[in-house]
Symmetry: C2
Subunit: 371 residues, 2 copies
């Protein structure tokens, strides 16, 4: 069984247990879901159907791209269905002889108005749309990386670490002067070293703009790494999988800026010390929130998140009541404590952690760099 067959097999098993005759996955503008890439290799813009008879059909927007990248029992262009999802569902039901009255599950991202449309149009079938579904099941599988994925992550982390060192060197030497210098170096080096590109828009924010959690715009021609705090948040995408790290560069920090830095470093150490197999992810996030609260500070975002084919995956490392994730071997996620001040600027320290049987392995070497 190859990788895709193994992954599909788990979903087919789940379908049999749930009695679902046909499942639809969707990766389209506004409803992205990289599960289709995980199950077929198709990089994007497609519908994907799985049948109870353990056969699958890919319906890509771009048939040429699918022929170059994807594996599936049947591949049919979206154009054959006039690029109308409802027609593609009926097409799949016909191919797989899905009996009338059986359950067809559509993605949980389906909007309420669209759901009403499907139910009206596909009245021969029992249309199901729910949170606990094939998509959420796949997300749970995807949260635990398999050997092949871990191999990719080790390689992606190595390249990321090379770049971290190069970025530090070039900032120190004065070769990187602007936000754009830093961001474009990453674009060039990522591709030079075999990556698909960056995993998301690089955020390079000099001292004037580092107050933003996610700088807007992502990077400009403004000075980088001058007096104060500068943030550089980037990821490299290798064979689909993105890393996600954040460096903070600090030059002659004032006392309040030094306070932000040391609180963030302490938060990171505290969090990493709590990372163990079996630990509830929320407990770690809550401990960090508590640590900041003691200094009357608040972190305006979650402590971390899983990474993979998407930049934000499971497990969640947020301090919300609905976060029930527990850490286990194979998970790859970020720890990224940060503080942001509209006057003094911001700092964040973010690394990628792989859970192994022996505990956490810090894959990346991002750090707070004092210039």
């Amino acid at each position: 069984m190859n990788l895709y067959e193994k992954r599909l097999s788990n979903i087919y098993d789940w379908m049999a247990r749930e009695g679902i005759a046909l499942v639809m996955f969707e990766d389209t503008e506004g409803r992205r879901d990289k599960t289709i890439r995980w199950l077929t290799g198709q990089p994007g813009d497609a519908l994907f159907f799985l049948s109870l008879e353990r056969k699958c059909m890919l319906v890509p927007w771009d048939i040429n791209l699918a022929n170059a990248y994807a594996t599936a029992d049947i591949i049919r262009s979206y154009g054959e269905y006039n690029r109308v999802p409802r027609k593609a569902i009926l097409g799949a039901a016909k191919k797989f002889n899905t009996p009338p009255g059986s359950k067809i599950e559509i993605p949980p991202s389906t909007s309420y108005p669209a759901f009403l449309g499907y139910v009206g149009d596909l009245n021969d079938y029992d249309i199901i749309c729910r949170e606990r579904c094939a998509v959420s099941k796949a997300q749970k599988f995807r949260a635990v990386k398999d050997e092949e994925e871990i191999k990719i992550y080790r390689k992606a982390a190595d390249i990321t670490n090379l770049l971290i060192n190069l970025l530090e060197k070039n900032v120190r030497s004065g070769k990187i002067k602007t936000e754009a210098d830093a961001a474009l170096l990453i674009e060039v080096e990522a591709r030079r070293r075999g990556c698909e590109g960056t995993g998301f828009e690089t955020l390079a924010a000099g001292p004037e703009r580092s107050y933003g959690i996610h700088a807007f715009p992502g990077y400009t021609r403004a000075a980088f790494a001058g007096q104060g705090l500068s943030i550089l948040d980037f990821g490299l995408r290798l064979a689909g999988y993105t890393t996600d790290v954040t460096l903070t560069f600090a030059r002659d920090p004032s006392a309040p800026q030094e306070k932000l830095l040391s609180l963030t470093e302490k938060a990171y150490t505290l969090a990493l010390g709590m990372v163990r197999n079996g630990t509830a992810a929320r407990d770690i996030a809550a401990a960090v929130d508590g640590h900041f609260a003691k200094s009357k500070k608040a972190m305006p975002h979650a402590l971390g998140h899983g990474i993979g084919l998407e930049e934000h995956e499971y497990p969640s490392l947020g301090n919300r009541a609905d976060n029930t994730w527990t850490l286990e071997p194979g998970m790859v996620f970020t720890l990224e404590p940060g503080l942001y001040d509209s006057v003094y600027g911001g700092c964040r320290l973010e690394n990628d952690i792989l859970m192994t049987d022996a505990g956490p392995e810090v894959l990346t070497e991002a750090r707070i760099i004092r210039l």
Copy 2:
């Protein structure tokens, strides 16, 4: 009345006519809607509430960013509501004294499972989620650009045209050798000329990869503009608004490649000749599909789309039965006929058109460049 007040006023009027007490807009990961930027200046990641009493409240993820960019009667951090949308809705209803039993409209992108959650949690109110709504109303307003937006578009088009000329020059001189050379030149020049950046990931596909409608990955270190057909699709984002153009570079095209080029150029001329105020957009798209069909070719995507704060806006220029858009002054949209062959490669010609009282004005100067 300033620009934002004027835009808000139109939505408030609509709310009064519809008897909606509170409307929510959402611009978050997976549910992007730049209407919030259009109404407040907030660049992203926020909820936004409008009340029947013509007051509005912005709930940004990043309060520092909102304070720097946004205008609203009330601004409250999403953190105050634990980053839970339901709590933010209740918070807005409380601020605006929305009487129990009144209608609260949530965005049409709300998933079916989330909709059920809202209805259950907010049972003091009549929760409405539908396609014909405040969001679609705003999209209709946004499809017709106002004077300020048209000024931005003229400037963005000027910069885009400068870059088109520079790209042609550097390809001809051999300075641009790879896909990455082309893409990174755009990143650098965009920012040098005052743009926020690119409007979307640049797609630069050399002859080996131009068969893809949207090349995957976006650009690599592969050769660009060698023998055959190369596609370069990019946009510049100025003050939020993106242009969107595609050049095709043809070097020593074979007879079948020349056929793709001439059919595409003819399609473009045919389409542009039909662009008139009052014309149904679908008729133009249907004519182009018919033109290609006569040569037994098919274009696997729509003829064009509106552009603005998002790369795909209204009007639609697709040949689908549900496309009821009619062209009118103030609209800015692309015309982008293209053909893609898994053996010979692809070509596309895409320009941005502004409708004026006198008819179409072609803002950009993209072309098929024969090397």
